[in-house]
């Protein structure tokens, strides 16, 4: 069992790290996401296709120069793959055996494509012929065009109808007719010494003109580029920080640019349009072929589809926790069955890990995004440090969040939220300002038994908050023990006992009866986190220090077991089963039950785990995940889970089975119905060929004493026979066939001897008339018939 388990990535990864592109009909947006290419439907916002095939990061995608519905993708695994993105089919693979950083193709150069090969000391731009894609590396006819290409090449190289531009930080190489140009047939433009470095580039689609973005926020438009001496560049300056993305519209009349300010700027000839407050830095801009839609990739891993009237039409969220180390860990929200963690700055992310769907980002801090003046000194922001969910009492579910600006040591707020059933959203109930005087909150736990919540801090206080109907949440109790820092708190499953970890001591108290703290367990080392066991292990308390895992029996107040584990990172508990999991800094995972010292499962992970969570699920093949699955989030913010090895292949094939979900229009309804019809006839044909043969062979070939009773086989047998005729008739009926049928029916009419025969005949008639698609209605009829026969 242990050997067969392996972790697979189920979600996460940045969808905005690399350029995304629109499909030619602007219906889909394709973005590289980790090892996949995701195809989003612009209309519905759903991920409708996942192109799975690369085994390393996909670095760039581009349209096939000739075929409209195909794309090329390059990856660090050294291959260029050709995909049909609508059907999600991998068409061909071209192996370069060198990590590829980018691929470029343009419809004007139909036979060639360009790749960036990463070698040890420099990245090189090669041109290769697309016509025949050979399997061997040596067969690929490559010609070198440029060396030492900047690593972030997707923004630094641009192709247009007549030329290609390769930009370095202070010079530009222009290749006229890049499908034929040799390496030395280039025009060099060198910027002045004091000119700001080039950060991105975009070519005018038609004219001999391109635009460059610069490190100081300038945008330069270059004309006359084929003339080395008289090249003209005009400077536009609005951005105060580096220009991160730049794109000409497909007509070439406007330029779109974005940067760290989070403002999309549309440059018209004499004026500018702005779309401000996008919430994060703009890393990429894509323009649809008809220039009606822009896709703006933001640094927080979301892509906005913006119309040309500058309204936001659609939002695709990746795993927006990108760029953080998830200070509040992952919580499970039973309402939405979602994992809850830090999302966008100041937001909580609700995420369904099993479907890789991001539900929403809940704004907790309510702050606007402000770009810092100096990128070296980012502005401090208020982070959500802890989040906790309470049980449902009186039909109300609560959530508590703790936010704090760590850099400036201010804005410590504890917020209590209530889920409003009418509005179907979280409503803020109570704000407690500086509940722990900025002393570093360590835990936030809800009582499973009543509306009580415990917060603990490093200053040594555990505060217990109760909900009052009128005043909201109030602190009713404040507990401390010898001024030791309070590191963690946990409630027993029934909520009767609260355990608090004060330094190296664990204290218990019954908060409902307002009793004094009692019963202490202590250990030599400071305890980092504690959890009560669940279900059958309710009486056990598991505690983790940095080097040891301890288990106490609370009833007997004695040590149950202890185990030495090197450098414990964090401990999590499954509330739906007895399982707990402990992660070490060296990325080992131990899954255990408090009742047993021996772990069920241990594994050396290949990823750096930042946070993990048990999520309830039903269908799981792994024994210890029978009730809930364990999801891991890596440092790179990719979501992983454990899988049996065979399942891994399934998961990779999963993409093929995802049904096309597109917008429903009368036309599409009509089209789909006709499509379905044809599809069904084809299917039934195939079905009958196979099933008839199989069942016949099955009945005839098997010795009769091992055959099941005739009644069980009959269904199958009859129905397989029945299928033959309608399908025959569904084919175009020749005259000859028709006559045959007629004769047959006549013959049958003559036979009207028995009642049984009559019935059968009737049945056949009906079959002829209906051209049945669904045969279930026949089955009971047949059964009865056969029963009568057997009698």
């Amino acid at each position: 069992m242990k050997e067969s388990l392996q972790i697979v990535q189920t979600g996460g990864s940045s969808i905005t790290k690399f350029n995304s592109i629109f499909s030619h009909d602007s219906k889909y947006l394709l973005c590289p996401c980790g090892n996949l290419v995701k195809v989003f439907s612009v209309a519905t916002g759903e991920c409708f296709q996942r192109l799975n095939g690369h085994c390393k990061l996909v670095t760039m995608i581009c349209h096939h120069p000739r075929v409209q519905l195909q794309i090329l993708s390059s990856s660090l695994d050294g291959t260029v793959k050709v995909w049909d993105y609508e059907d999600g089919i991998l068409l061909s693979t071209c192996d370069f055996n060198v990590p590829l950083l980018g691929i470029f193709a343009h419809s004007c150069y139909s036979t060639v494509a360009f790749v960036i090969q990463q070698s040890d000391d420099s990245n090189e731009l090669y041109r290769f012929t697309l016509n025949t894609i050979p399997s061997k590396t040596s067969d690929i006819a490559c010609s070198l065009l440029a060396k030492n290409v900047v690593k972030d090449c997707s923004k630094r190289i641009a192709f247009s109808e007549k030329f290609a531009v390769v930009s370095y930080s202070n010079r530009l190489l222009v290749f006229i007719n890049p499908q034929h140009a040799e390496r030395d047939e280039k025009i060099r433009h060198v910027l002045k010494d004091n000119a700001p470095a080039i950060t991105c580039i975009s070519c005018h689609p038609v004219e001999e003109c391109f635009a460059t973005g610069h490190a100081n926020g300038e945008i330069r438009i270059w004309f006359n580029i084929s003339d080395v001496k008289n090249v003209i560049s005009s400077i536009q300056h609005w951005h105060s920080l580096e220009v991160l993305s730049l794109k000409f519209s497909s007509s070439g009349s406007t330029v779109l640019s974005g940067g760290h300010e989070g403002v999309l700027v549309q440059w018209l000839e004499d004026s500018k349009n702005f779309l401000p407050r996008l919430g994060s830095a703009i890393t990429n801009v894509a323009v649809s072929k008809d220039s009606t839609l822009f896709a703006v990739s933001l640094l927080d891993n979301s892509i906005l589809i913006i119309t040309n009237y500058f309204t936001i039409k659609q939002t695709f969220d990746g795993f927006t926790a990108i760029g953080q180390n998830l200070p509040c860990g992952i919580c499970y929200d039973s309402n939405t069955n979602a994992c809850v963690t830090n999302g966008k700055p100041g937001h909580l992310l609700f995420y369904l890990p099993d479907k890789d769907i991001q539900l929403y980002n809940l704004d907790i801090v309510s702050r606007n995004f402000i770009s810092s003046v100096d990128l070296e000194k980012p502005l401090s922001k208020t982070n959500i440090l802890k989040v906790g969910f309470g049980g449902t009492f009186d039909g109300v579910k609560h959530m508590a969040t703790m936010e704090f600006d760590q850099a400036k040591q201010r804005d410590e707020k504890l917020k209590f939220w209530r889920f409003s059933d009418t509005d179907q959203q979280w409503v803020l109930e109570t704000i407690v300002k500086s509940p722990h005087d900025g002393c570093g909150i360590t835990s936030l736990t809800f009582s499973p038994a009543n509306n009580a919540c415990v917060t603990t801090s490093q200053a040594g206080f555990a505060k217990i908050w109760f909900k009052h109907d009128e005043e909201g949440w109030l602190c009713e109790m404040s507990l401390s023990f010898r001024d030791l820092p309070c590191n963690d708190s946990t409630f027993s499953e029934d909520g009767s006992v609260l355990a608090l970890a004060f330094g190296h001591t664990v204290c218990f108290c019954d908060i409902s009866n307002n009793e004094e703290m009692q019963l202490m367990l202590s250990h030599s080392e400071s305890i980092k986190s504690i959890f009560f066991g669940r279900q059958s292990c309710q009486h056990l308390l598991v505690a983790a220090t940095s080097e040891e895992l301890l288990c106490w029996n609370v009833m007997t107040k004695s040590m149950y077991w202890s185990s030495h584990i090197h450098k414990i990172n964090f401990l999590i508990c499954d509330i739906h089963s007895e399982n707990m999991a402990v992660f070490t800094n060296s990325n080992k995972i131990f899954v255990f039950q408090p009742s047993d010292k021996q772990p069920h499962y241990s594994h050396n992970l290949s990823i750096d785990v930042t946070a993990a969570c048990f999520v309830p699920s039903k269908n799981c093949d792994i024994a210890w995940q029978a009730k809930s699955e364990l999801y891991l989030v890596s440092k790179e913010m990719s979501v992983h889970k454990f899988c049996v090895k065979s399942e891994v292949d399934d998961a990779s094939n999963l993409s093929r089975m995802i049904i096309k979900s597109d917008q429903v229009t009368p036309m599409s309804n009509y089209l789909s119905s006709t499509q379905q019809k044809t599809a069904k006839t084809v299917n039934s044909n195939r079905l009958q060929e196979t099933t008839v043969d199989d069942t016949l062979r099955y009945i005839l070939d098997t010795p009769c004493h091992v055959l099941p009773s005739m009644s069980t086989l009959c269904d199958q047998f009859i129905s397989s026979l029945l299928l033959q005729q309608p399908s025959d008739q569904s084919e175009d009926i020749s005259k000859h066939n028709k006559n045959d049928n007629f004769e047959e029916t006549e013959a049958k009419n003559d036979k009207k001897a028995s009642k049984d025969e009559d019935l059968l005949e009737e049945l056949e008639k009906r079959v002829e008339q209906v051209k049945v698609e669904d045969f279930e209605w026949i089955q009971p009829l047949c059964k009865r018939k056969l029963e009568e026969f057997s009698c």
Binding site: I221, F223, N230, I232, S234, S240
Partner: protein, 707 residues
């Protein structure tokens, strides 16, 4: 006796300071201070409120590559640009004369002004040569067609008047149809058949044959009630018309059928001037928003498109004039300086031409501690501030001021003389003051009754002629002037009786240019004259004869001076070359030969490197002073930006090596005067650029990011 005023008390507080050996920045409070500079005490004076005037228009001469710059006070400067930027001559303006437009007709310079006439200037003696009425009121613009050899002027009454400029005359030929509103801008097509004019809301295309308008282009208004003023038009040889208007647009029109090709709103405020390069592939536009923006022609698939190219933002105030000289674009405006950029972006760099004059506006009398400051239409006479020098002069210590400087007099020309002052001087003894306008030279005797009160008496003398340059001999017995009719006048002065008598009139050989420099030897025995052609003549004053002519150097001399002992003549040229000529040997001195043999480039140029490199005209030497002692012979070359100090072995010491060393001291604010009061005190008049900026009108408000 002309007008004079006595200003009794100066209210400004003054301070003295002393700093030895090293130079430190003086505190802001100190307008006047003493410094010790190696062995010298520097007396810094900031009383002179020199304020340059805004550049009104410019015209570049095709033939001589000279640039004519008209300023708002009506004065016209001619800058030589061939080798280095050097202000060749200044034609002083007058209070009733304005220059709105300037044009070169061959080597003739013509201007039109709001007083309603066309003026031609005599560049050989820096005077007005000819003035013709425009017959249409104020002249706003002038254009010249080389094909027709005619000029057209746009007048206040809305008509274009054509003048023939053949045979060195300006004769009225015809008037075009009158239109509504004044004609503000004008351009003449290369072929001579078409004239384009701009006025409010409309651009008209005129046929020069018929005098009728062929086309009329109405320029769109930004707001319904605000008219669009077309400040500037240009026409290219392919009949592309470019207009710059008050709403900040630069528009390109097809001149044949008067349709709009392109419109660029690159400027944030009025576009005041346009200028196209010779190959007509680039058009520069500038205006109130002080940016000079290039529009480049991109010819793609035979469709000409004008795209916005690079922009230059060096000015702080409105740019009023643009000119192209060879491969450089020159811009000038309200901030008075000229900015110069290379047309091609790749080669050449930016240079700034400051508006400081070449001529000294300040003269001093060492014996009476008086300083005379020349403004455009009056003179100020101040008495130096005084201080007691402590016995030990330490570096870094200010010497406290004892007596504040006192303004003694203000001398104004009579109100009948509207011409501005061209030059002025006070005699070394402090008893004589002379100044000249373009019409009259006036001589005054200064009589001081006590410390703080004095009066001036005009001394009349027969035969005085307005002059370009006036000097007094060191003994103050003679006044020598170089006149506008190319003569040298020598006037004998008698202080006791307040009499002046013309004793000699020396005829100069050159008539084509003015004699702008005069120098008298310390014993008053020699007189040296230098003209703009680079000719330097030495006259013997004892017998009033021509003594010798110096070898001619290709550049223009910027300053000449005699050695106090040996009477060697030192000349500084505008390329920063310095040459010393021995009158006895009739040859270059040993020091000069040594400098010329060791340095490939001019001596002062090598010294100057390291100082600010993007200003060119303020490096030119404006005066030369010798400080002679037995051990070491020092020459001070004073420029507007600092002092070049050359030390050498005196001639009498028979040493093989005479050149000891040289250095450049530029720790001063821009200098308007540098003079030795005695052998250990240097008197300098500074004018910080900051003070000039403060005098300028407010600029167009523009929001700057982060403010």
């Amino acid at each position: 006796m002309d007008n004079f005023e006595v200003d009794q008390v100066n209210k400004e507080t003054e301070m003295f300071g002393s700093k030895a050996v090293k130079f430190y920045k003086i505190s802001n409070l100190a307008r006047l201070s003493y410094y010790i500079m190696s062995k010298f005490v520097v007396h810094r004076c900031r009383l002179f409120k020199f304020t340059p005037c805004a550049v009104q228009c410019m015209a570049a001469s095709v033939e001589t590559s000279d640039l004519a710059v008209a300023r708002s006070d009506g004065s016209i400067e001619i800058w030589s640009t061939k080798y280095s930027w050097f202000q060749k001559l200044v034609i002083p303006g007058s209070s009733d004369h304005s220059v709105e437009s300037l044009i070169w007709v061959g080597n003739r310079l013509l201007s039109g002004g709001l007083q309603g006439d066309i003026t031609e200037y005599d560049l050989t003696d820096a005077t007005v040569k000819l003035s013709v009425d425009s017959f249409g009121g104020a002249v706003w613009c002038i254009a010249y067609s080389i094909v027709k050899d005619k000029i057209a002027v746009g007048c206040e009454d809305g008509s274009v008047k054509m003048f023939d400029v053949k045979n060195k005359a300006i004769t009225f030929e015809r008037a075009f149809d009158k239109q509504e509103g004044r004609i503000l801008s004008m351009a003449w097509h290369k072929s001579g058949d078409i004239i384009v004019t701009g006025s409010t809301d409309v651009v008209r295309i005129w046929s020069t044959k018929t005098g009728h308008a062929i086309q009329r282009i109405t320029i769109e208004r930004e707001m319904k009630n605000v008219e669009t003023i077309i400040w500037s038009v240009a026409i290219l040889s392919d009949y592309t018309i470019i207009s710059g208007d008050s709403s900040g647009r630069v528009q390109f029109w097809n001149g044949k059928n008067a349709t709009l090709l392109q419109s660029h709103r690159a400027h944030r405020a009025d576009v005041l001037c346009l200028c196209s390069t010779k190959d007509e592939k680039c058009v520069y536009a500038a205006g109130v928003d002080p940016r000079v923006i290039a529009f480049n022609l991109v010819q793609e698939d035979d469709v000409p498109t004008w795209v916005k190219g690079r922009y230059m933002q060096k000015h702080t105030h409105d740019v009023r004039a643009l000119a192209i000289i060879e491969n450089r674009i020159v811009s000038g405006g309200v901030d008075t300086n000229l900015m110069m950029n290379s047309i091609s972006e790749k080669v050449g760099s930016f240079q700034r031409v400051y508006s400081f004059p070449m001529k000294s506006l300040v003269s001093t009398s060492a014996t009476k501690k008086l300083v005379l400051m020349q403004y455009s239409n009056y003179l100020d006479l101040w008495k130096f501030a005084k201080c007691n020098f402590p016995e030990e002069l330490n570096a870094g210590r200010n010497i406290p001021i004892e007596d504040n400087p006192v303004k003694l007099l203000q001398i104004k020309p009579p109100s009948s003389d509207t011409n501005h002052i061209c030059c002025s001087v006070i005699s070394p003894c402090g008893n004589w003051i002379a100044y000249s306008t373009t019409s009259t030279l006036r001589l005054y005797n200064l009589q001081t009754s006590d410390e703080l009160s004095c009066k001036v008496i005009r001394v009349r003398c027969v035969g005085l002629i307005p002059s370009h340059c006036i000097v007094f001999t060191p003994d103050s017995n003679y006044m020598i002037t170089s006149t506008t009719n190319h003569k040298i006048l020598i006037v004998h002065l008698v202080a006791d009786t307040c009499e002046a008598r013309l004793v000699q009139m020396l005829q100069l050989k050159t008539y084509t240019c003015i004699t702008h420099l005069l120098a008298v030897s310390s014993t008053s025995s020699y007189l040296a004259t230098a003209n703009l052609d680079g000719e330097i003549n030495v006259f013997d004053l004892t017998n009033m004869t021509h003594f010798c002519t110096l070898p001619k150097y290709q550049h223009t001399p910027s300053s000449i001076a005699f050695h106090p002992v040996t009477n060697d003549l030192m000349t500084a040229y505008d390329d920063l070359q310095v040459i010393e000529y021995s009158l006895i040997d009739k040859a270059y001195t040993k020091w000069t030969k040594q400098c010329l043999s060791t340095n490939n480039e001019p001596l002062l140029q090598t010294l100057r490197k390291g100082a600010s490199s993007n200003s060119c005209n303020i490096a030119v030497v404006t005066s030369i002073r010798y400080v002679h002692s037995d051990e070491v012979d020092k020459v001070f070359f004073m420029s507007r930006e600092g002092l070049y100090i050359a030390e050498r072995v005196p001639n009498h010491m028979q040493d093989t090596k005479s050149h000891l060393g040289a250095r450049f001291c530029h720790k001063f604010k821009p200098l308007l005067c540098t003079e030795f009061i005695d052998e250990s005190t240097l008197f300098v008049v500074e004018r910080p650029l900051q003070d000039i900026w403060e005098q300028l009108p407010p600029t167009l408000y523009q929001k700057k990011f982060g403010t």
